[in-house]
Symmetry: C2
Subunit: 391 residues, 2 copies
Amino acid sequence: MRVLILGGDGYLGWPTAMYLSRRGHEIAVLDNFAKRNWEVELGVEPLIPIRTLHERVSAWREVSENEISIYVGDLTDYGFVEATLRDFEPEAIVHYGEQPSAPYSMVDHRHAAYTQQNNVIGNLNVLFAMRDVVPDCHLVKLGTMGEYGTPNIDIEEGWIEIHHNGRTDRMPFPKVPGSFYHLSKVHDSHNIMFACRIWGTRATDLNQGVVYGIHTDETILDGRLVTSFHYDETFGTALNRFCVQAVAGIPLTLYGKGKQTRGFLNIKDTLQCVELALLNQAEKGEFRVFNQFTEQFSVTELAELVQTAAGSLGIEAELAHVDNPRIEKEEHYYNAKHTKLFDLGLQPHLLSNVLVDSMIQTVLEHRYRINPSVIRQGIRWSGKTPEAAHS
Amino acid sequence: MRVLILGGDGYLGWPTAMYLSRRGHEIAVLDNFAKRNWEVELGVEPLIPIRTLHERVSAWREVSENEISIYVGDLTDYGFVEATLRDFEPEAIVHYGEQPSAPYSMVDHRHAAYTQQNNVIGNLNVLFAMRDVVPDCHLVKLGTMGEYGTPNIDIEEGWIEIHHNGRTDRMPFPKVPGSFYHLSKVHDSHNIMFACRIWGTRATDLNQGVVYGIHTDETILDGRLVTSFHYDETFGTALNRFCVQAVAGIPLTLYGKGKQTRGFLNIKDTLQCVELALLNQAEKGEFRVFNQFTEQFSVTELAELVQTAAGSLGIEAELAHVDNPRIEKEEHYYNAKHTKLFDLGLQPHLLSNVLVDSMIQTVLEHRYRINPSVIRQGIRWSGKTPEAAHS
């Protein structure tokens, strides 16, 4: 299958490109390298240095004898998107090409507006270019479980049958997202749903949980193939950050009560889920939603897992409750359905001490690169600095 | 009350400014005159020529002895929004300042992207500037009944109690909007709801029905005070367009089966509803939604009303079913709640033959300005030209 991967230079985009390439698909990656600029802006770096995309593609050619094409440009530039689709004629598009950080979107008005403009307009351009150039192409769009928030009812996979005043309809599951970034994904979902309805676009919205992990079966093949692993407050996800805190001898920071529950998955399962969506494509006009995670944990449970794994390696990790920089429920009901990908054959890599051990060991190898000052960056949902928040 | 009206040069913004000014409020209007450019772009003009905003404000000063301040600039320019709020210090903001046309948003990718970028980012800037400059200010935001679409269940006012698998939550009513314009309003609603939740913003989202009417009690005071009345496919609403078609001797065009049902209201009731929202402000952190319309009609019923009223003036108007340029259900259940504004004291101006008569008479006075070629402009939701749609 000819698959175009938007955001192919990123944490998930690059491993997805290699995974699919290795499994016989013809792959192109598209990126504008914006993420590398956000890193410079915030003064953060991935734990393991990563190569340019061109070097990675060369290394992949050496290792796998497979070619990956590169398209460099911005999704908010319609002409570029259209030209890329005309040139590559993808049968499927995997869309990771968005600003992916909730804290980044909450820095100030400029970062909020940038995130929504970048994500929403980029995605709109993809929808229009698909309509006009490759109307049969399947869009596999990365959304997030954070679109749903933490409702007091079970979370369904995108759609819910509502019974109301004696009548019934199947409706989009109501969303209560928790940041301007999460909101941008909700906006995308609504736009995509509309394109499916009026143009017959095929789309799968993958509402993904929090991804953890450093390595995939492809990144370990050659040192030049590693992916961008972040541990800073802005781009690092919970488990990844906890492993680095443990190694750096910093307490693992729990926001507020630490009872926030979320869905999590291994980076290897992201790749597997994306391929399952590609191989079982949505129908013409279908807007299909999969909740993409394998296990639910509270943040405290997650931190304790890391604490135990660190302990088995002789590292004593402490937990610390800090003022929650976010505004969110710290104790809540959470039961999110996630059977559709399992029905398609997902074989999950569940979180076990063994895996956390190996992650901590990888972090240990690169501990000289840890910059503890970026682990907390003081971005607060209230817009107030930590000092002002206490005054 | 000090009220800032965003989009104060528009069809509803300008009459709202005069109405509130006359009732003793201190009014400022903000506009970037983008609408006047869209008119030039499409080659359309309001039925009755309108003055510059500065001339209208001068005329209003003569007529009423009241001052209205003018701020000229763009809501997508954060610095301008912040400076305006610092200067005027509004106690309430009435936000009409968006691209308001569904067909305009469906012209092509550029118009879709422009609509969403303009509306969503402008509204985001208002939310941030309110937070930082006038945190106690009340946002009265114009949304649309079109955010809901036509679900098979009763439409509630913004929120619905959902019972699911033995549990219950009060959730945002799920939205299935019908154009990229309507989607932009859904995106706005989600962003505002979030600001209320995390910053304690006060907001009222007025999900307004289709507005009809030419005159208000203020526009008739002086010929220089008329508002921008459109009858073209892009900016004209159903009833307004039907009156002009009747006068021009063109059949009243029903899209498809013509059984689409919507909520409608008189322009005078828009002003009344906005004032009711202002006088009964939302609580700190409250995201309040009012469905703002007074009566439900099918498009055919509406056309027949115009036909009858035209007949009583000796004008024989025909109805014609045309290929639906939109993609929407042409027969559907529709029962939208709209009690909250009535509970606050709304005294509706219901649609009667008398009113339609007087509208047609006003159109007759200006019939020499009707340009029949703009009544259908061939904008199709499918993206195909009418010819291609048949091939």
